[in-house]
């Protein structure tokens, strides 16, 4: 074979190879986007994670940290623990949060409740929730942190379960409600601050309503799904396989 012939054939093979590679990539993208996010096969999972890591670094790390551990001084949650504010923490749940955000400016964003500011005349802008006194707040903190004397903790329990209305959102057992994004107050994981008495006072007296932006539009379906898979993998290092329900 003449060198020229060989060169031509080589070029053709290269083109065909590149085409096949591109086709394969696109096919993986297509299947990744079309699959049920909660039961992603291993090859799609492996395809998604590096892509998601890239998107995360570009768009999410500024708030959630490069390692995904959040920033409790600004009320940004860690995505590395399995404690979820919203939903069951499946890839599908996470994807919906990323797409529409939390208390973000769009009709589909998750915005069911805010933490009232109990040391103000009108703790909630939307609900008729009465304010508390400094003593009430101190009692309720004693109840939550199991500090103070039995008397104050008992008073705190009454405020929690009755006049303060805390039970309505956080549940009678204070374990929160992932259906509406209300945090568990019985675990050691805190969204805002370090779980100290002062930090709890800061939230209960002055309220809290964290915002996660909506990414649908900024990110396409492929990047959204890949990021959701990556975020899920942060708290589930052993995955795939995913059927987590």
């Amino acid at each position: 074979m003449k060198p020229r012939t060989a060169a031509l054939l080589g070029l053709a093979a290269l083109l065909a190879g590149a085409g096949a590679w591109m086709w394969h990539g696109r096919d993986l993208d297509r299947r990744m986007v079309m699959a049920d996010p909660d039961v992603l096969p291993a090859d799609l999972f492996a395809h998604a994670v590096p892509l998601g890591r890239e998107t995360f670094a570009a768009h999410c790390a500024s708030c959630h940290g490069a390692d995904g551990k959040g920033d409790s001084a600004r009320g940004v949650p860690s995505l590395v623990d399995i404690d979820r504010l919203y939903g069951a923490g499946t890839v599908g749940d996470i994807e919906q949060i990323i797409a529409h955000g939390i208390r973000a400016a769009n009709g589909k964003s998750r915005a069911f409740a805010i933490m009232p500011a109990y040391a103000t005349a009108r703790p909630s802008p939307t609900e008729a929730i009465p304010p508390l006194t400094p003593g009430d707040i101190s009692d309720v903190i004693d109840y939550l942190l199991k500090t103070g004397n039995p008397e104050s903790a008992r008073r705190g329990a009454t405020i929690f379960g009755d006049r303060g209305g805390c039970f309505d959102c956080h549940g009678a057992d204070a374990k929160g409600d992932p259906a509406v994004g209300v945090p568990d107050l019985t675990d050691a994981i805190w969204l805002s601050g370090d779980g100290s008495r002062d930090a709890l006072y800061n939230t209960i007296a002055r309220g809290s309503a964290g915002m996660c932006p909506a990414w649908l539009g900024t990110l396409d379906a492929r990047a959204l799904r890949a990021t959701a898979v990556y975020v899920h993998s942060l708290s589930h290092p052993a995955t795939p396989p995913l059927p987590s329900r």
């Binding site: 003449k2 020229r4 012939t5 696109r26 993208d29 297509r30 299947r31 986007v33 079309m34 049920d36 996010p37 909660d38 039961v39 768009h59 500024s62 708030c63 001084a73 600004r74 009320g75 499946t90 599908g92 749940d93 994807e95 919906q96 797409a99 955000g101 973000a104 400016a105 769009n106 009709g107 589909k108 040391a119 103000t120 005349a121 304010p131 006194t133 400094p134 003593g135 805002s192 002062d198 800061n202 007296a205 002055r206 309220g207 809290s208 309503a209 964290g210 915002m211 932006p213 909506a214 990414w215 649908l216 900024t218 396409d220 379906a221 492929r222 959204l224 329900r245």
Partner: protein, 291 residues
């Protein structure tokens, strides 16, 4: 064959073959791009969509969300009936929205108009939300709005009332001479109005005492007793036992709210800017009598 590959000399068959190959390749690339580029009108439903209605996509992510909201299932957990029901509902919605635009529903229907206004406002604000403020942004905002980032201010004050100015004056003199409160109250016939008790936030004390009496109370230090206050129901003495006025909160304590407020202010600024731009762009004519 050897002629075909003898590139130094012209060969008609080779020219046509290469031309043909080029044409086929070009058509292939064009066709591929046409059928797969996002937003193109094709007969194919893109992988990120579950349907297409007059070339407008019905998105898969919304379909997933609907299944989760209505039935609490993921797409594979859903039964075929559930999937069909959600899909049909979404297609119906898209068709009706498109028809609504054709009929200019927003021209007349107040609910549609309000929804559109709100959607546009949200879209303007949403663009700014992906941006995280820098620490410098936040600290500047915190300093400019220091008055917003104060502790609450609390007081423990008792509001006593006497029937006559003489009784109030007598009680005031006794209390300032450090006579015990209970015996003084009994001696001069003072009653506790119960308007305030225990430690209260300033806002609550203001509500309970009323603006005028709160203004007096605010100036009292612990251990102080107010001058007699003549009111319709008698002569009042305010006895202050603790008064902690608001103090500035450290930046670290206020930070989370500074972020929220900064973002809100930033959104409002953007909204205003876009409004000005849209207004400038619009051709607005105003009736003579209203100019």
């Amino acid at each position: 064959m050897s002629d075909f590959l003898a590139f130094r000399s012209a060969n008609t068959a080779r020219s046509f073959t290469l031309l043909g190959l080029g044409a086929v390749l070009g058509l292939g690339i064009a066709g591929y791009a046409l059928f797969t580029a996002p937003g193109t009108s094709t007969l194919i439903v893109a992988p990120e969509d579950v349907a297409s209605v007059n070339q407008r996509p019905v998105s898969r992510i919304d379909f997933d969300a609907q299944l989760r909201t209505l039935y609490d299932v993921s797409p594979t957990e859903a039964t075929p009936e559930q999937r069909k029901h959600v899909l049909e509902a979404m297609i119906r919605e898209e068709i009706f929205v498109q028809r609504g635009i054709e009929l200019d529903a927003a021209g007349a229907d107040p609910a549609a108009r309000a929804a559109l206004v709100s959607a546009v406002e949200q879209q303007i604000v949403a663009e700014s939300q992906t941006k995280q403020p820098t620490p410098a942004d936040l600290e500047a905002f915190y300093r400019q709005n220091q008055a917003k980032y104060m502790s609450e201010g609390t007081m423990i004050v008792r509001d006593l009332v006497a029937a006559t100015p003489d009784q109030a004056a007598g009680a005031l003199q006794a209390l300032r001479a450090k006579a015990p409160l209970d015996t003084t109250m009994a001696k001069f016939g003072l009653k506790d109005t119960g308007r305030t008790k225990d430690e209260e936030y300033y806002f609550a004390a203001r509500i309970h005492l009323g603006d005028a009496d709160f203004a007096v109370a605010q100036k009292l230090a612990a251990g102080d007793i107010s001058e007699p206050l003549v009111r319709p129901d008698g002569v009042h003495l305010l006895v202050m036992s603790r008064n902690a006025p608001p103090v500035a909160l450290a930046f670290a304590v206020a930070q989370e709210r500074v972020v929220t407020d900064w973002r809100q202010a930033n959104g409002a600024r953007l909204l205003k800017g876009d409004e000005t731009f849209l207004r400038k762009r619009a051709n607005v004519l105003i009736a003579e009598d209203l100019r």
